[in-house]
């Protein structure tokens, strides 16, 4: 089975975010980066499927040259080779633009299965996967918690609201957007890191007419506000009101 995994490089979670001068993105010039978390689970799922069914895992990423870091990480974990659609303009690109950039080289490859993370830790639109499926003209399913592969088909478990799940079956090739926590991530081994040096990373130019379809007008940092409410009445009565407020308004219990 030939499996593609799309990975995105995002700013590390514990990096102190600063907004850039034009208020359109974070100022990530001196940020450290890491693999988008759901993508790491997608990669792990792909590696497990390969271990069960054989085949090949190809990492695909669209972004500026620095994205090479997460590509190497994916190769170190066990992916076989990589396709890097490289362009500065792909930094902080919207989901549709990324999907379009990835679609051409991925189409040629004729993958049986394409896995992406459910959403990205930075923009969180959850669009790249589904738009990519459209570009590739293949069926897709989102928020996947389990994957079973059969002949020419996949059966997948989707996570719904409120603890509900749904099983869906579809023909392959197909695209699945993977939910974090679907599996237990493996560690990159030292041998893996060394072996990654020798694996192929194919650099591809994005289509010439590639452009953003979505523009971020303004980013702002949520303002922290303090609100103090006093509950009066006898202790038991005040406690009762407090509990109610914690349940209904603050929704913390």
């Amino acid at each position: 089975m030939k499996i593609a995994v799309c990975v995105k490089q995002v700013v590390t979670r514990d990096w102190p975010l600063r907004i850039n001068d034009s208020h359109t993105w974070v100022d990530d010039r001196d940020a450290s980066f890491e693999m988008n978390e759901p993508d790491a689970y997608a990669l792990e799922e792909a590696l497990r499927l390969k271990e069960q069914h054989g085949g090949e895992v190809v990492v695909c990423s669209a972004g500026p040259p620095r994205v090479n870091q997460v590509i190497r990480e994916a190769l170190a974990r066990g992916a076989d080779r990589a396709i890097h659609v490289e362009a500065e303009s792909l930094a902080s690109a919207d989901g549709a633009m990324v999907a379009e950039a990835l679609a051409a080289p991925m189409e040629e490859e004729q993958f049986d299965l394409v896995l992406t993370g459910l959403q990205s830790d930075d923009q969180g639109f959850a669009q790249t996967g589904v738009v990519l499926a459209e570009f590739l003209s293949i069926p897709h399913a989102t928020i996947i918690m389990e994957v079973q592969v059969g002949a020419g088909r996949v059966r997948v478990k989707r996570e719904l609201e409120g603890g509900w799940f749904q099983w869906v079956s579809m023909s392959t090739p197909a695209l699945l957007t993977i939910q974090s926590g679907i599996n237990q991530l493996r560690y990159a081994t030292l041998k893996g890191i060394m072996a990654a040096k020798k694996k192929e990373v194919r650099l591809v130019e994005p289509p010439a007419e590639l452009a953003r379809r979505q523009e971020i007008l303004m980013l702002s940092v949520p303002e922290r506000t303090k609100e103090i409410r006093l509950f009066d009445g006898a202790p038991a009565e005040a406690a009762g009101k407090l509990v109610q407020a914690l349940k209904d308004d603050a929704r913390v219990i």
Partner: protein, 385 residues
């Protein structure tokens, strides 16, 4: 792949692995004085402890620079490399001085984790740092050495399959130079314990699995001798630079852990209506400690580069160890002070790391002995011993 890229990838990967062994893991082991079995297994299985073993023998054939990054990141994560660093710094002895047969027999198994070489027996109770005066004797009888004597502070013996043991094969009175007549034996602990070798744990200030060891007619096959008979001291010296650099890196890791914690706490803790870190009495010591940790790191990187380039690096390796051990200790002290009373509470891990990093002033080599090396061998000052 560029060197820096490899180092970054290595750092990221080890950091990620260590993140699965949080503070609470180490804290709980410390309370029980228990060995971090699962951590050592994980690190071994992922191949990081085999960084220095050549590729054809199952390792990754990397240098001390890379090996030191592994240990640094373990300490930087809040853990303690002491549980497994010996395998890295004793490696050179087997690698460079072991016979082809020994290398082929042991190294692939050490690389895969089937065998652990984590114990190194040098120190003795009556002679301490004055290594050449050691009393433990190995007398050759046919195909065996018969070992009698005692060692102290021998760590991880209970968690290792093999031990490199330094013994006298010729009494000090019978050699021309006191550095002659020492030999190195590879003791298979699985056979030895209970058959001429007794191990008693020492309860210590830190969780270090350290022991005292007694030899009463322990038989070690002659084929387990590493290198030539009588040349053990030279082999020992030969491994010291690597050890110094690796330990320096652990100290840098500790130092960075302390600075990170101190900064976080100094920003969060509000007393007198402002974060304590706003007071220069708190801020400046942290800043100074940071400067010293980073400066020590430069010396460590320089020493590692020279070592991996095959150049002499005795001065740099020793200076790196001294600077880094001092910097981590300073950082520990500053962090303790920054945390106020909470520094003493186990749940913040500062007191544990404080105890752990204090060791580097004493072991594997004490600060004075480093200074003696610099004074006598680098600066050519008169010898004191």
């Amino acid at each position: 792949m560029a060197i820096n890229e490899l180092h970054n990838d290595l750092r990221t990967a080890v950091r990620e692995l260590c993140a699965r062994f949080p503070d609470s893991y180490w804290r709980e082991l410390d309370a029980r004085e228990a060995y971090p079995e699962e951590f050592v297994k994980t690190l071994t299985n992922a191949g990081y402890l085999a960084a220095l073993i050549p590729e054809e023998l199952g390792g990754s054939g990397l240098g001390v620079a890379e090996a030191s990054i592994v240990l640094e990141e373990v300490n930087r994560s809040g853990g303690n490399s002491a549980a497994c660093h010996a395998q890295m710094y004793t490696m050179g002895t087997l690698l460079r001085h072991g016979s082809e047969e020994q290398r082929r027999h042991y190294l692939p198994k050490i690389a895969s984790g089937d065998l652990r070489l984590q114990a190194f027996g040098v120190t003795e109770p009556t002679t301490g740092t004055d290594t050449t005066q050691m009393k433990t004797m190995a007398v050759r009888r046919g195909n065996h050495y018969v070992v009698n004597g005692q060692k102290v502070w021998i760590s991880r013996v209970e968690h290792s399959d093999l031990m490199l043991l330094v013994v006298r094969t010729t009494p000090v009175e019978e050699v021309q130079k006191k550095t002659e007549g020492l030999s190195i034996l590879l003791v298979d602990l699985r056979d030895a314990i209970g058959n001429g070798m007794t191990v008693n744990p020492i309860r210590a200030m830190i969780n270090h699995a350290t022991t005292e060891v007694f030899f009463d007619n322990l038989e070690v096959p002659v084929e387990n001798r590493v290198g030539e008979e009588g040349k053990g001291f030279r082999y020992l010296l030969d491994g010291l630079n690597a050890e110094r650099i690796l330990i320096a890196a652990e100290c840098v890791g500790d130092g960075r852990w302390f600075i990170e914690r101190a900064c976080r706490y100094a920003k969060d803790r509000v007393v007198f209506g402002r974060p304590i870190g706003q007071n220069q009495g708190i801020q400046f010591p942290i800043a100074r400690a940071h400067v010293n940790v980073e400066a020590a790191d430069l010396m460590r990187v320089r020493a590692a580069d020279l070592f991996d380039d095959g150049q002499p690096c005795g001065a740099e390796a020793n200076m790196a160890k001294l600077l880094a051990a001092d910097a981590s200790w300073e950082a520990a002290n500053v962090t303790m002070q920054t945390y106020g009373g909470f520094g003493f509470a186990e749940e913040f891990d500062v007191e544990r790391k404080f105890r752990e990093t204090r060791l580097y002033q004493t072991a594997p080599i004490s600060t004075n002995l480093i200074l003696a090396f610099i004074g006598q061998h680098v600066l050519g000052l008169p010898r004191s011993f």
